[in-house]
């Protein structure tokens, strides 16, 4: 079994510890702009909460029959902190044990969880945008209001923009750092 270089092990430890930041910062945000809201409206998604102009957005969206956004509609919030804690522990264990196969296992787990998270987010967005109250006041034929997964999209009089927040960038950084550590380790050991 190949042992990891010390540099890689340090990098993996840092990568894992970066995730600690996600407990204190929003992971994702959705920003919406309309003529009447020149200042924009924001939604911040945390590991276990959703904050920002939730009430204003709920007030607006009820005209078109969208569900009220509230913490209880996200069962994910109950398990997210534990999952992230688990990833951190796995990463630190990898750094400690220092085996290449463990790094592979860690990286693949991390990517799998990341994909699962994005799929889950997309599915929520699909349901939120499509599953409309049939008695809504405003019904625009053929119109759905699924927020963009990432990037911007026009929804009636709103422009919606979705992107990672600081916590999200931490996840991306963890991923990049872990990949870099693995590549570095492979390249170095080949020389």
């Amino acid at each position: 079994m190949k042992k990891l270089l010390p540099t890689s092990r340090i990098a993996i430890a840092i990568a894992s510890l970066l995730l600690a930041i996600t407990f204190f910062t929003p992971v994702w945000y959705i920003w919406m702009w309309a003529p009447q809201y020149p200042e924009g409206l924001s939604l911040y998604i945390w590991l276990n909460n959703i904050t920002g102009d939730v009430d204003i957005i709920n007030g607006l969206n009820h005209y078109i029959g969208m569900k009220h956004i509230k913490v209880e509609m996200f069962p994910e919030f109950e398990v997210m902190p534990a999952i992230v804690g688990g990833i951190m522990a796995f990463g630190l264990l990898t750094a400690l044990v220092g085996r290449r196969w463990l790094l592979w296992a860690f990286l693949l787990t991390f990517i799998a969880i990341g994909i699962a998270g994005m799929v889950d987010f997309w599915m929520w967005g699909y349901d939120y945008g499509h599953n409309l109250d049939p008695t809504a006041a405003i019904k625009v034929p053929g119109m759905a209001y699924q927020p963009p997964l990432i990037g911007s999209k026009e929804l009636l009089n709103f422009i919606a923009y979705s992107a990672p927040d600081i916590g999200g960038w931490m996840f991306i950084s963890t991923g990049l750092l872990t990949v870099s550590a693995l590549v570095f380790d492979i390249v170095r050991n080949k020389r």
Binding site: T7, Q36, P164, S180
Partner: protein
């Protein structure tokens, strides 16, 4: 070696993270549209006049404001349905009757819409009508004095939103109910709310207007319990017809935001009022018991009288056929506007994503051919496609109200997408769009609803101002935008705050009324019973507990200005006549402790302030309108003695004590 490799790894990762941290693709909020030489286009040099008068509803302030265009300057606030302590309107003994209703004195209302009088479909500059939404009334403002001259109450109306709208030659001002209510006897009105469909009625009231402007409730149509929203008279070829937007055809009586928004189509109601007149001539109407006030201001006695009327002529169009027809119109139409030719009727479904335009010619043919798709509450519903001229596709979101420029174009306000959209009436193609700041309600083009629009400017009246002006706590000003619509592209010229909460407004060329203004009232024509038409007529008279002061005011004194012999328990009536016979010299009158307001007296007029003294002492009164260089000297005293005192009643001017 080891150190540098660690460095390499570090920089690679850092670079990736830093690049990622800049979300460069966040869309920018669209900025301000360019205004170019707008300032010079709205600049009215000192001493110059504006080109248009803009008569603007004040919404919840119950007033009208008079604004100049293109400058946006406010000239005057005309109190209509609300008391105005500034002028004494609703406080002075003479004006109180203007605000009388069948419910008694009502000091406030919500004035939404303006209708200017027309002749042959064009503005004639005689009167401005306004509606009271809450306690249903219609008022007439005389455009030679800018004073509220007449108010008529509307019986059997739950709320007077779809009002006032005027026929081509000002034959009728039409007012219909937004809130349907059960009408008739006490027993007919005391019904469970959930019997809405069976027991509730809408009403459409036709107020006839005589050549002097005098209003009379000519007849009232009892309609199905829809909510009437807005309306327009036909003109030209469609003269004799009237068109009303109707929502809540679901007949909801609770949670209307959901329950009145369910049908894909509501209606525009087409009403043949010439036919209604025929039925009346044949004696087909029914005189029905009602109770409503009719208030008139007399401009010789400066005194309003209020008469309570007891009956109204009603027509039941479900029995008297061929008066009303319904045309399907998508969803919850707000605006219902007729183009200058009278051929096209534009329905603005506020929840719809398109604007249907109906053709009067096609509508007539469909009615003739009995091309109906069903009935609504016993009235024929014309087949949608048969009456349709065409549809403006994807105009914007939340179409509310349409005006016309007389050059074949229509302009529709879009509440939700906060813009004005210009489109071609014939081809139905969208030609241009421009943002408003924010959430525009009504729009106004001078002459826009008439047969002869002056398509130079468009004003947008907005519901939200947000970040447009210096903030003033939780409540912000409402505002308007002025656009130049003389070219192919609309251009923003001016953004200005408005008074109250304007809904609809109309504008007309200044030349139509500027030179007809009353500058003062002739003293010799003053018929006020307590007028003192010269200082020789000034006096104080006791009638039991009432003290009547026949007072004059002229620069810069009152006569009399010393009054004694008034006792606790007396009621003092100051009847102040302004003896000035020149323009722009009003005098004011105020007295300490008066629980009403000041009164402002125009030259040649008489106004009365009632005051009940409660404390012994000498009380000053003074002129509140800065009338002259010696305005600060324009004052007087009244002595108040105990109830049982023997002080003799006397009054004087300029007397001094013997030395």
């Amino acid at each position: 070696m080891k150190k540098s490799s660690f460095f390499q790894l570090g920089t690679a990762v850092a670079a990736a993270v830093v690049i990622g941290l800049f979300p460069g693709c966040k869309p920018k909020a669209p900025g301000q549209v360019g205004v170019g030489d707008a300032a010079t286009k709205t600049y009215v040099a000192p001493g110059q006049y504006d080109e248009f008068y803009n008569i603007v509803s004040g919404g919840f302030n119950g007033q009208m404001s008079v604004v100049g265009l293109p400058s946006g300057r406010v000239f005057r606030i005309v109190p209509v349905f609300s008391v105005n302590p500034e002028s004494g309107y609703g406080y002075s003994e003479e004006s109180k009757a203007m605000l009388n209703t069948s419910f008694g004195f009502v000091p406030w209302d919500d004035l939404h819409h303006i209708a200017l009088s027309t002749t042959k479909g064009e503005h004639d500059g005689r009167w401005a009508f306004g509606n009271a939404n809450n306690t249903p009334r219609v008022a007439r403002v005389d455009l030679t004095t800018f004073e509220t001259t007449e108010i008529i109450e509307l019986p059997n109306s739950g709320g007077n939103h779809s009002s006032p709208f005027i026929t081509e030659n000002s034959e009728y001002v039409v007012a219909s109910s937004r809130f349907s209510v059960p009408i008739g006897t006490d027993a007919q009105r005391d019904v469970p709310i959930n019997t809405y469909k069976e027991n509730f009625k809408g009403t459409v009231s036709f107020i006839s207007v005589d050549t002097e402007g005098g209003m009379k409730l000519a007849f009232q149509l009892v309609a199905p319990p829809v909510n009437f929203d807005l309306a327009r008279s036909g003109k030209g070829k469609s003269h004799g017809w009237f068109f009303f937007s109707c929502y809540n055809t679901e007949a909801a009586y609770s949670l209307l935001e959901v329950n009145a928004s369910q049908k894909d189509k509501d209606y525009i109601m087409a009403l043949n009022w010439k036919k209604a007149e025929e039925y009346i001539k044949e004696g087909k109407g029914t005189m029905t018991k009602a109770r409503y006030a009719h208030n008139k201001m007399d401009h010789h006695s400066f005194t309003a009288t209020s008469t309570i009327l007891e009956e109204v002529l009603q027509l039941d169009p479900s029995v008297l056929k061929d008066i009303i027809y319904f045309i399907p119109c998508p969803k919850s139409p707000h605006g219902c506007d007729v183009d200058p030719s009278g051929e096209y009727i534009v329905g603005s479904g506020k929840l719809a994503a398109q604007i249907p335009v109906f053709s009067f010619t096609k509508l007539m043919k469909a009615i003739e051919d009995k091309d109906f798709e069903g009935d609504y509450a016993g009235h024929p519903v014309v087949r949608y496609e048969s009456a349709l001229h065409g549809i403006v596709e994807k105009p914007g979101l939340g179409p509310l109200h349409t005006e016309f420029d007389g050059k074949g174009n229509a302009y529709t306000s879009m509440f939700v997408s906060s813009e004005v959209v210009k489109w071609d009436i014939a081809t139905l193609q969208v030609l241009d769009r421009i943002p408003t700041y924010y959430s525009v309600g009504h729009i106004c083009i001078p002459g826009g609803p008439t047969a002869k629009p002056h398509g130079k400017y468009l004003i947008a009246y907005n519901k939200i101002t947000k970040d447009r002006y210096l903030p003033t706590g939780p409540e912000l000003c409402h505002a308007a935008q002025l656009y130049d619509i003389s070219g192919d592209k609309m251009k923003l010229l001016l953004d200005f705050p408005t008074i109250g909460e304007p809904h609809y407004a109309e504008a007309l060329p200044a030349s139509l009324i500027k030179d007809k203004q009353v500058t003062f009232y002739k003293l010799e024509e003053n018929t006020h019973p307590y007028a003192a038409k010269g200082e020789g007529e000034a006096k104080v008279v006791r009638k039991g507990k009432e003290i009547h002061v026949y007072m004059t005011s002229i620069r810069s004194h009152f006569s009399p200005d010393n009054i004694e012999g008034v006792k606790i328990g007396d009621e003092v009536y100051f009847h102040v006549t302004n003896l000035e016979q020149d323009w722009d010299v009003p005098h004011g009158f105020a007295i300490r402790g008066a629980k009403t307001a000041e009164t402002l007296i125009m030259p040649g007029a008489t106004q009365t302030l009632k005051w009940v003294p409660e404390r012994v002492g000498v009380v000053p009164f003074y002129c509140t309108d800065f009338c002259s260089a010696l305005h600060q000297e324009m004052q007087g005293y009244i002595r108040i003695s105990p109830a049982n005192s023997n002080v003799e009643l006397k009054y004087s001017l300029g007397e001094t004590s013997p030395q």
